[in-house]
Assembly symmetry: C3
Homo-oligomer: 348 residues x 3
Amino acid sequence: MTDLIDGNAAADVVVPSVDAAPDSQTVGWRHRHLLDVDELSTADLDLVMRTTDAMREVLARPIAKVPALRGRNVTILFYEASTRTRVSFEVAARNLSADVTNIAAQTSSVSKGESLVDTIRTVEALGARMLVMRHAVSGAPYLAAEVFGGSVLNGGDGWHAHPTQALLDLYTMRSRLSGGSVAGRKIVILGDVLHSRVARSNIWALTAAGADLWLCGPTTLLRGFEAWAGRGAAGGRRFHVTADVDRALRDADVVMALRIQRERMSSGLLPSLREYAARYGLTAARLALAQPGALVMHPGPMNEGVEIAPEVAAGAQSVITDQVTNGVAVRMAMLYLLAGVSAAGAAP
Amino acid sequence: MTDLIDGNAAADVVVPSVDAAPDSQTVGWRHRHLLDVDELSTADLDLVMRTTDAMREVLARPIAKVPALRGRNVTILFYEASTRTRVSFEVAARNLSADVTNIAAQTSSVSKGESLVDTIRTVEALGARMLVMRHAVSGAPYLAAEVFGGSVLNGGDGWHAHPTQALLDLYTMRSRLSGGSVAGRKIVILGDVLHSRVARSNIWALTAAGADLWLCGPTTLLRGFEAWAGRGAAGGRRFHVTADVDRALRDADVVMALRIQRERMSSGLLPSLREYAARYGLTAARLALAQPGALVMHPGPMNEGVEIAPEVAAGAQSVITDQVTNGVAVRMAMLYLLAGVSAAGAAP
Amino acid sequence: MTDLIDGNAAADVVVPSVDAAPDSQTVGWRHRHLLDVDELSTADLDLVMRTTDAMREVLARPIAKVPALRGRNVTILFYEASTRTRVSFEVAARNLSADVTNIAAQTSSVSKGESLVDTIRTVEALGARMLVMRHAVSGAPYLAAEVFGGSVLNGGDGWHAHPTQALLDLYTMRSRLSGGSVAGRKIVILGDVLHSRVARSNIWALTAAGADLWLCGPTTLLRGFEAWAGRGAAGGRRFHVTADVDRALRDADVVMALRIQRERMSSGLLPSLREYAARYGLTAARLALAQPGALVMHPGPMNEGVEIAPEVAAGAQSVITDQVTNGVAVRMAMLYLLAGVSAAGAAP
């Protein structure tokens, strides 16, 4: 297992000077789109982490803005309701001085029966150069990327992927764990793994980074993941799957609770919220099984009292608010890196 | 009753130079939040009025913008539908060169069961430095202010308070009444006082400014206000409460009609819109009871033909449109004054 | 029929220098509003076309922005759901460095029973200097123009008019047809003409420009247009109306398919979408009746497989995506030209 992406990675990685416009030649980023984490090498991940460091530094300034993407159109096309991810991308783009166009497709004439391909072509013709997209259908951003002339950033597609979430999770762990690396650390993702794009993208990121990854939840919400764990991600990067919450949490370095969608209850996959909370909720008692000082994470929004106890969510070990701020920084980093490739690309 | 806030107030009040970034040391503003008018001293009110004068001057420029809040994030989090107040804050913030993030919480994933405290923490972690908030629950902005690291501006909470509305009302009266003061003037608030946050915030502002304040409406819509009037606001600033519309309007200097919410009809508090219009609507005949040239005001949006006759709303005595423009100027003033305190505060 | 608006028009028309703020004296534009195309002279149309050329040149720059309207408030007030027109105006305004305020009136408190006149007065008092408006009622923007102190741009009113669509259609044809002119060219508008504001505005623009215009669709969707064609537009500019699709398409230079609104089906005006597609859909076989290389246009959003076949919409003759980009440029041109008049007008 390589470990290039820890805090002591190769010294020859260029740290971008993010105040200026991006330039792929200097920075060494090659991808035009961000569709999922599985396409990123460990060197790519390391570059994202270092660029995010630079963006955190920007966020700490009195005026948290750089002119890097001045005048560039970033369009945020969301087919599912979202506030935190949408606002995070919007703030990230504006912090880079981009012009942001918001399209909430579920409430707009985009839904007048127009095909996705037509919508993407229209959005590009309207001036979009970078397209952040959320869609209920897994794979929709891949179709968009085939049609769109600029860069597509996947902001969540069905149960499939949520790459910026996995990147911000990785960044948060690296910045909080001693040694600045997740390699060899026991990381538990707890909850409704089956329906979670967050879990799937984290499998790619965390196994690539050498973590000892455990997925835990009711067996009905782990379907298919045992087989995947047996094969390993990317043809061999193994991880663990268990319904035994005590076994999963014991000596963990990080525990990430996933949101329980209340609408799953009716599907028969879960008996009741109360029973879920009793058997899998991240309580202080359960957290005590983990390492002292283990990190508590959650992608939000939380159902406090269900998948996580309020005192754990707000406790000293929680880095949930830090995840949110890191999300802005990671999205700034991704917009910056992708913009360098687009700028170097074909005619506008 | 002090009268510091009239047009001839103490000459040693500093008039802010609003083109530059705010600085609380120079300006002398102390409050971190704007939750209601009751927390403002007459000196505070005077400073708001003078800063609003400066903002009106900015609005009269060909390019109505100053760089005072450049790069600062103002987040507008509204849990109730609103256009005029939301747009007013948005325009105010942009006129100060701030970056504005709009979150319409009633249509967003903020409503996915997340607690208000979690939402406030998330919004701050996303970069909000000033938070304008409207909520259906009285007191919600007070809870937000306990959690939020920046400044909270109450954009209306339940029936409780709408401080920027009261401030723009006060500014409008001062700028239109001869002598530039409301002290000793007879001011009538007419209509559904019971459910009105506008009325409640105006009670604080107008009694502090020494007005002869009258609340008038059907007795069912004045419940509790007689007792309050007897005690007086802030421990002794008396006002009048009556269901006798002729008595209220006689010799009035200002008449402010309140919006009748059509949905109140079903509650049994009002017989019908038609009967309300007949008995309490502000008609030309009723307005004739007031002083010649008495000001006609309304917080909007109006039900013309119900609480106010169209010819009165659009008549020569109406300053309703002026209220709207003053609303932008007052909100610019409040954002400016609060930003000075935040900038002087703790770590970002 | 004059032909001033072709590519070889009078050389003394001033081409605006669109990087600077607009100035009506220099540019020679006289209208304060854009309500429909019928009010524009051929010289006006020519100026719009030339200004749009300049805007296309701006769009081709790496940073597609000019400071022409810096600090000016453009308010987009839409009473009907729309994405493409709303975003097109928003991007156009931002490309001119204007500040954009979006008001989606159908989901906002604007719909709390407030009259249109009150809303317009409020929007102006909030700072709007240019108002882009879409409304389900034909004529609503004319009422707004009587009240509003700045410039009103009609973004579509009922079945009546959609002037910027007609202007972008004209621009697209001129830029794609050999000779740079529509004069004498056979142009077919195919589909639901009856309910189409796009068709109505195009009648004014295309007959003014000397085109050989044909309207074609089921007779139930052409009601009233035969009589209009007999009289001619503007007191004599004739055009053709027919239900015979083969006759309409034969030797056409341009075919513009109109969107079929699915909700029209229930009205009894159309038998079924399937039958409509079979009899009037723009298929490859039908397009073969037109001139080789005839342009295919559609105002969007498309129902592919109904009014237009997917292979035609995406085929080599389609200029549909070009229409979208030209829409941004035309709207930049109109905002620019109207702003010059407003700036030269009365007090702010």
